[in-house]
């Protein structure tokens, strides 16, 4: 697992992908910080985090698109799958590598709080709640992207597929309000990643929300392992 983690992280930074992702995150979050906090004269950083939801929706798939697909295309997966490594170790290694790059990218977020704290007193707890939310959100997007990437040999299909899936799970939020059957509507509403993330940005840390995100990650990592397993039997 550690060998895979190390290789994938270094692969992110030998190709431009890692740099591009970090740059996009810093650029967009910086822009949102300027627009919603600095120029608006607000000490509330939550809008920055709320807007980052959409940036990550589009750009995390670019981080995850080649994780499984490129190897399959180059047939390098034969090295991993015939090495004495468990499939779950392999998948978790890949997941953590993308997660590490993601953490580097969002490590700039607390800095905005630090900048504001020179001028006014800010609510650090709310900020850390926001950071926890975005960390969970990143994990969810990465596990989804990893899963989609394991289904195809084509990076572009993996990226487009992941973005599409991310949009679909975002739309669960709106879908809930148009379903007339109350039970179904509630069930769908409860699956809304955006609603749960939104609660984090309001500074509400609810254990059920954290568990929800962790479960989604676990489910998609598990599915990825199953996809690799299935490939052996095909």
């Amino acid at each position: 697992m550690s060998a895979i983690l190390k290789r994938e992280i270094s692969a992110y930074f030998t190709a431009p992908v890692g740099y591009v992702f970090v740059a996009v995150c810093i650029l967009t979050s910086g822009l949102f910080f300027y627009l919603t906090a600095l120029s608006a004269g607000s000490t509330d950083l939550s809008p920055v985090f709320q807007l980052m939801f959409f940036v990550l929706m589009i750009f995390v798939p670019i981080l995850t698109m080649r994780l499984m697909s490129e190897e399959k295309r180059q047939k390098a997966d034969q090295l991993l799958l015939t090495a004495p490594v468990s499939l779950s170790g392999l998948v978790i290694g890949k997941f953590l590598s993308a997660f590490a790059v993601f953490l580097i990218a969002i490590s700039v977020m607390p800095v905005y709080g630090l900048v504001l704290s020179f001028f006014v007193k800010i609510s650090w707890l709310t900020l850390w709640g926001n950071v926890a939310g975005i960390v969970f959100l990143g994990g969810v997007y990465i596990s989804l992207g990893l899963f989609i990437s394991s289904l195809t040999e084509n990076q572009m299909i993996a990226a487009v597929g992941s973005i599409f899936l991310n949009i679909v799970i975002f739309l669960f939020n709106a879908l809930g309000s148009v379903i007339p059957v109350k039970v179904v509507a509630e069930a769908v509403q409860n699956l809304s990643v955006y609603d749960r993330y939104f609660q984090f940005t309001l500074g509400i840390f609810e254990l059920s929300n954290a568990l929800f995100f962790l479960s989604i990650m676990a489910i998609f990592l598990f599915l990825t392992v199953r996809v690799l397993e299935k490939r052996r039997w095909a």
Binding site: A3, K6, S10, A15, Q74, K75, Q78, L79, L80, A83
Partner: protein, 332 residues
């Protein structure tokens, strides 16, 4: 040691490997010979745990690859048909990654250094794999298989893409490794298998058609080889002359030599089938020179892989061809 028992693999409805069993002892080089699509790579992929068989089992040093994959894989070095390389890494980075992946315990730098010397890639260690030629990539793939000094080496067409000098080097390396490893190597080139392997398993359409000692198989195959000769002189007379040699079973005119092959006209090529196991080359020379017919070329017809299969399947090349012809006639 590798033991394979009744292995079967389906791709959809297509039976890629059909109930094959064989055994490779320690310190033995087993050659896997077969045409493209015979099931060589599929079998190797099953042995290394990359894909699963539908039935049967494969044991590596007594460990079932399906039941305890991680323990079994620890003893295997695998060079697949396409070397599994990360083209964005340098050779050194790649080999270090393979070292970490296989959780080796040996001193890292000296171990990798030794392997690089062995497969002669020490001079490209700092270069990105994407810039390497096919021959170098193949050797990096081989180096990867050797990392961790596994007891079993499974090499799928290891000499593909190498130049003749490298092929000889890699063959002698495999022979050397075969002394203290179990090696399975596949190829569709008969002389290559003959040169390297102790035992040969011939596989065709997923089935084993022969599993024999290399020497026995080669001896069996080389009897009643035909000769091809080129003689200057009147076709009828030469043919008559050759037919008069008692050890020759059959003489056939193949064609008139073309201008590029022979400067003078009236040069014909003949195929000669001697009686079983007889060497008629000296007789041919003496007979022709006694009548002053210049012998311009003489070579033995090596069996092609197709002929080897026909021979193994039917026991006789010519017989089979004749049968085919009569079959066609009947069909008409």
């Amino acid at each position: 040691m590798i033991e394979v028992e009744n292995l079967t693999k389906f791709y959809g409805n297509n039976k890629a490997v059909d109930n094959i069993s064989f055994k490779a002892e320690e310190g033995e080089i087993l050659g896997f010979l077969g045409p493209n699509g015979a099931g060589k790579s599929t079998t190797m992929n099953i042995l290394t745990g990359y894909i699963s068989s539908n039935s049967g089992r494969a044991l590596i040093d007594g460990i079932d690859i399906l039941e305890e994959p991680i323990a079994a894989k620890r003893n295997i070095g695998y060079l697949p048909e396409y070397p599994p390389l990360y083209t964005d890494m340098t050779v050194d980075e790649y080999l270090k990654f393979a070292y970490n992946l296989k959780k080796c315990k040996m001193p890292r730098n000296s171990h990798i250094g030794e392997i690089c010397d062995l497969v002669k890639i020490s001079d490209v260690r700092g270069r990105a794999i994407r810039n390497l030629s096919k021959g170098y990539r193949q050797r990096v793939g081989l180096a990867q298989a050797l990392i961790g000094n596994p007891g079993t080496l499974i090499l799928d067409e290891p000499t593909v893409g190498l130049d003749p000098k490298q092929i000889i080097e890699i063959r002698s390396l495999i022979k050397k490794l075969g002394k203290n490893h179990t090696v399975i190597l596949s190829s569709h080139i008969l002389p290559e298998i003959q040169a390297v392997c102790d035992r040969i398993v011939v596989i065709n359409k997923g089935k084993i058609v022969a599993n024999e000692n290399a020497a026995t198989l080669a001896a069996g195959l080389s009897e009643n080889l035909t000769l091809r000769i080129r003689v200057e002189g009147k076709e009828e007379e030469v043919k008559k002359l050759l037919s008069s040699i008692p050890l020759i079973k059959r003489v056939a005119t193949l064609r008139e030599a073309e201008k590029g092959e022979s400067p003078s006209a009236g040069v014909f090529e003949y195929e000669i089938e001697p009686k079983k196991g007889e060497d008629v080359r000296r007789d041919i020379f003496k007979k022709l020179s006694s009548r002053n017919y210049p012998l311009l070329m003489m070579k033995s017809n090596e069996l092609t892989l197709e002929e080897v299969f026909l021979k193994l399947v039917t026991g006789d090349i010519y017989g089979n061809m004749q049968n085919k012809k009569t079959d066609q006639k009947e069909a008409l």
